[in-house]
Structures are given as structure tokens and as C-alpha cells.
């Protein structure tokens, strides 16, 4: 019997074991990271520095995107609503889609592209230039000094950015709907307030973006920490961060949405 018929089984086995290996590595990394979170939280200045690079620097892209997404939603929503003569519901449609879905999801996708990729590249380069090894030599734990502050910064900034995105989007829709199209200002806000529930819609949306923050933060530091110490390795780790984060956000969004809104019409 030749080896050829069995080679694909071999390849399958190799694929499964490498993935299991990586999964185990990720699990041990996450456990170690959560172990040093307490120490890292005490060093506020490190977290503030990362909040600046991840959060403050992402402000402009998030607010501008939110504004435009809201304006597009208003134009498209108006097109459909005017057929049924209920253009006053424009505020409801825009607010619900932003607060429940688009705010958390689009912000997390933007954050993965804008901030997480930079975090991965930075940590990967620190690994490649032996800065992490040097810290270890000086008895400074790189997990607590470098990794944990970046992770915490992602978890703190994403919900705030998602809130800003939704708020900017609603203001964008208000500019288009009320000022350009001419929907009644009072109806726009009052219908929105009657239909948007603080607990079901806003708190759930914020919870989503905290979960996305944990996922995107973990992926970015993990990929950076274990990036192969070459130029190519750092480049592919950065790409993997963006791809994996985006997929994880969309998958988690589906799971969370089903869990949150399934029993709503009971």
C-alpha cells in the first residue's frame, strides 16, 4: 500500500494538533493574563497611556463614521418609511439599529483595524527586538507591564467609543431627518424615547461592546505576544489580529443577539 492515500489523513491530524496546541497556548495565556490583572489595575499611569493610544486616538474615526452611518440610515430609512406614511418613526429605526447592533459591532470592527492592529505590531516588535526578554531579565513581568494595560485599555475604551458612535449616529440622523428632510422635531425624539428601552436596548448594547472589548483585546495581545520574531511574522500576526477580531465580533454578536432578544416577543 502506498503512502499517498493516507497522506490527507496525516494532514488532517497535523492540522488538528497544531490548532489544539494553539488553543491550549491561548488558554494558558488568558489564565496567566487574568492572574496579573489585579496588579496591572494598580498601575493606573500605564493604563492611561494605553487608553490614550487606543481610545483617544480612535475618537475621530469613530465619531466621523458614526455621523455618516447615522446620516445614511436616515436617508435610506426615510425612503422606505415614506411608502407607509410613517416617516416620524425614522428616529426609532435609526436609534434601535444603532444602539442595539451597529454601535457595538461597527465600533469594534473599527477598533480592531485602528487600535488592535497597532497593539499587535507593537508587542510583536517588542518580542522581535528582545525587549520582552530584557524585561524578564530585570524581573519585570511583561504580562503585567506590557500586556495587561493594553488589554484593560481595550475593555474600557470600546464601550465608551460605542456610546459615542451611537450618539454621533443619532445626531447625524437628526440633522438629515429633521433639518434636511423636514420631519417634525418633537415626533422624532418622542417616538424614539417611547420605543427605546434603557435596559433592553442601551444596557444590552453596552454589554455587547464590553464583550467585544474583551475579545478584541485578548486577540490583539495574544497575536502580538506569540508573533514569530521576524518582520514577516509580525506582519502576518497583525493581519491575523484584524481578521480574527472581525470574525469573532460578528460571531459573538450573533450569539449575544440571540441570547438577549430571543425571549423579547414572548
Amino acid at each position: 500500500m502506498s503512502r499517498a492515500p493516507l497522506s490527507w489523513i496525516e494532514a488532517l491530524g497535523a492540522a488538528v494538533t497544531t490548532r489544539l496546541d494553539r488553543l491550549g497556548l491561548a488558554a494558558r495565556f488568558v489564565a496567566a493574563l487574568f492572574g496579573v490583572l489585579g496588579i496591572a489595575l494598580l498601575r493606573a499611569s500605564l493604563i492611561i497611556r494605553e487608553l490614550y493610544f487606543s481610545g483617544v486616538r480612535s475618537l475621530s474615526i469613530v465619531i466621523v463614521s458614526g455621523l455618516f452611518v447615522g446620516m445614511v440610515l436616515a436617508v435610506q430609512g426615510y425612503e422606505v418609511l415614506q411608502r407607509y406614511g410613517s416617516t416620524e418613526s425614522l428616529g426609532v429605526i435609526v436609534a434601535l439599529s444603532l444602539v442595539r447592533e451597529l454601535g457595538p459591532v461597527v465600533t469594534a470592527l473599527l477598533f480592531a483595524g485602528r487600535a488592535s492592529s497597532a497593539v499587535t505590531a507593537e508587542i510583536g516588535l517588542m518580542r522581535a527586538t528582545d525587549q520582552l526578554a530584557a524585561m524578564d531579565m530585570m524581573a519585570v513581568d511583561p504580562l503585567a507591564r506590557v500586556i495587561a494595560p493594553r488589554f484593560i485599555a481595550a475593555v474600557i475604551s470600546l464601550p465608551l467609543l460605542a456610546g459615542l458612535f451611537s450618539a454621533a449616529g443619532i445626531i447625524g440622523a437628526w440633522i438629515i431627518g429633521v433639518h434636511l428632510i423636514g420631519i417634525d422635531d418633537g415626533a422624532f425624539w418622542s417616538q424614539m424615547q417611547a420605543s427605546v428601552d434603557v435596559r433592553i436596548d442601551i444596557v444590552n448594547g453596552m454589554f455587547k461592546s464590553v464583550v467585544f472589548g474583551v475579545a478584541v483585546g485578548l486577540i490583539s495581545v495574544f497575536e502580538g505576544f506569540f508573533a514569530p520574531p521576524t518582520a514577516e511574522g509580525v506582519a502576518s500576526a497583525t493581519t491575523r489580529t484584524v481578521v480574527t477580531s472581525s470574525l469573532a465580533v460578528l460571531l459573538l454578536d450573533f450569539v449575544l443577539t440571540v441570547m438577549m432578544f430571543r425571549g423579547l416577543n414572548g
Binding site: 499611569s45 475604551s157 450618539a167 424615547q193 434603557v198
Partner: protein, 157 residues
């Protein structure tokens, strides 16, 4: 960039984020409306609740005074049992009528409370005895057609 610049920028960022969340909670959502868990509960039984949903508003004279907390079916009488959570700042007399109404032609359904004249008030857990079920369009149409068909008995034959 020195330390205080970071602090300033991050402080502004966090403040802006919190302002956005407050804007969402107060201007977009309606935090000022009373939340569930306060107030008292009344029970109303209907033959048919139509499209009434949990969390639908309960209105008196058009003003929201509470929300539908739960909807169930009595297994013996086959009546729909709606539990209404009413804000504790309103009291309703014992002969109040609960009616299922629709806002607008295609709008959502809500419960309207029409207050009677008895000086005794309903308290927590009591039942609104007089109710009027939802209008079901199909029934209305079939009733209309049935009446139409039954109208001229003399012309038969």
C-alpha cells in the same frame, strides 16, 4: 508627551464617552419613565388579547400609567390573564374598565383604563372585573358578512 497631557486627553475622552452614554439614556431612551419593580400589580382577564405584547403601555385618558408585566392563559376558563404594573402615584376605582385598544390604524395595542365612579380603590393584586377584549379584524369582518347575509329574511324563497 508628558504625563499630564495623557491624563488630560484620557480624562476628556472618558468624560465625552460618559456624556454620550447619558445622552443615550436620557434623550434616546426614556430613563425618566418609571421602571419595573415599583408600583403595584393589577390583574385583568380578557377573552381575547389580540396582538397585545408584554411591556405594552397601560394608559388612562391617553397618559401612560403602567406597563403590561406578563400575559398568561388560565387553563380552566381559557381566558387570557394580563398582569399590569401600575405606577404607585395613580389609584383606580373598583369599577374601572380595562379595554384593549389600538393606537392608530396599524399601531401597537395597549390597555386603556376607563375609570368608574366607585370611591373604593383597587389595591395590589386585585382584579379588574370589567374588561373588553381586543377587536380582531377577521371576526369583525365575518360578523359583518354574517349580519349582511341574515338581513333580508323575507326575500328567501
Amino acid at each position: 508627551m508628558n504625563r499630564s497631557k495623557f491624563d488630560l486627553a484620557v480624562g476628556a475622552f472618558v468624560a465625552l464617552g460618559i456624556i454620550a452614554l447619558i445622552f443615550l439614556a436620557l434623550k434616546v431612551g426614556n430613563l425618566t419613565g418609571f421602571d419595573s419593580g415599583t408600583g403595584y400589580v393589577l390583574e385583568a382577564r380578557f377573552d381575547n388579547i389580540g396582538g397585545l405584547k408584554v411591556r405594552a403601555p397601560v394608559k388612562s385618558a391617553g397618559v401612560v400609567v403602567g406597563r403590561v408585566e406578563s400575559i398568561g392563559l388560565d387553563g380552566e376558563t381559557y381566558e387570557a390573564v394580563a398582569r399590569l404594573r401600575i405606577s404607585s402615584s395613580f389609584r383606580f376605582s373598583k369599577d374601572t374598565i380595562a379595554v384593549i385598544l389600538t393606537s392608530g390604524l396599524l399601531g401597537e395595542q395597549y390597555i386603556g383604563l376607563e375609570v368608574g365612579g366607585v370611591p373604593d380603590y383597587l389595591s395590589n393584586g386585585e382584579r379588574i372585573t370589567k374588561t373588553q377584549s381586543a377587536m380582531v379584524l377577521e371576526k369583525l369582518i365575518s360578523q359583518f358578512l354574517f349580519n349582511k347575509a341574515a338581513e333580508p329574511p323575507s326575500q328567501v324563497k
